[in-house]
């Protein structure tokens, strides 16, 4: 029955079949690419910061996926606890990074009255 429906409409398989690591990886990839594009495209320093957060989250999704006991086939290896701990460190470092980046942005804003990263060209010869 399931197979019939799934074969009739391939996308329906998404909600009838259990998810696997690959699903998570796709999500992670989309987050990551969004972050990269965001970093590249935005001129607002805070926008760039948000891009970084997205990139880190994309990576985190991967770590969690590889660590999850739900998503692994029988006998396959998972990162187990290590994946979660690494993701934890990523979150902490992201918080630290956000604090410093925000401080730099505010400092930049104090000195230049703008948050446009293209205007940060003081070191240009």
């Amino acid at each position: 029955m399931n197979i019939v429906v799934a074969s009739a409409v391939p996308l329906l398989g998404l909600i009838t079949e259990p998810v696997s690591v690959a699903h998570y990886l796709v999500v992670g990839a989309i987050l990551f690419v969004s972050g990269v594009v965001c970093m590249a495209m935005k001129r607002n320093a805070l926008g760039v910061l948000m891009g970084i957060e997205l990139v880190l989250n994309g990576a985190n999704v991967n770590f969690v996926a590889f660590a999850s006991p739900y998503l692994q086939g029988e006998g396959s290896r998972s990162l187990g606890l290590d994946g979660q701990v690494i993701a934890l460190f990523v979150i902490l470092l992201a918080a630290a990074e956000a604090a410093v980046a925000l401080a730099i942005t505010l400092n930049f804003y104090n000195n230049h009255a703008t948050v446009d990263v293209d205007r940060a060209d003081d070191l240009k010869g």
Partner: protein
Amino acid sequence: MSALPMIAGALIAAPLPVAAINWHSLFFLLFASVSCGFAVAVVAADNVVRMAFYLVLSLGATAGLFFLAGAEFLGAMQLMIYVGGTLVLLVFGVMLTAQAPLVAIKGSGRDRVLAGIVGVALLALLLQAAFSVKPWRAPAAGVVAEPAATPIGMSLVGVRVDEPAVGAPAANKRPGYMLPFEIVSIHLLVVLVGAAYLARAKRRKVPRAIEVAASVEPPASVAEHASIGRERHRSGSVLAGGRP
């Protein structure tokens, strides 16, 4: 685009038996679409405040994905630190600098096209990698995740209590995370101090009325006023000649 009519057609022709729905997958789909959709919205939005809001939703949905993957502690952590802490900080920063001209700085069209091409290319690469992961549709059934909070806590103080993966060394031989934990702690402290130092600005201090009052000499007239006794006075014009 052709998928939608197909789904609709399939639903009409052969109604999807609700029993066939894998609820876990459905919720995954929900969270994943929210997460990815708002991540793309962050890229697409120009208004920095809205970007921050989309980011909140995206990261919140990611926390939901973590919960689905059995990483409850991590999910709560994501909500607490990321969504509750980091992003409030970010929104704070956005508002501090959100003056009309800065709210929406638009990138140039060339940048956009370039970023789009690079992004699509990168995405293609990553998706290729994602789909090549071995167990594409062979997840385990009936696995119940162990509560992870305590093992994570124990591993951070250097003791591993979780079940070792297949082929890994025995429980108490595997490395803990004591040193990284300490490094991160120190790092956070340094960052805290550094950020506070960086964000300062010199500015002219407006003296508070209290300080002004405190800095002036003790008023002479207080003594003068105090010297007047509590006897009743008859006042009048100074020109009226002497007090009666």
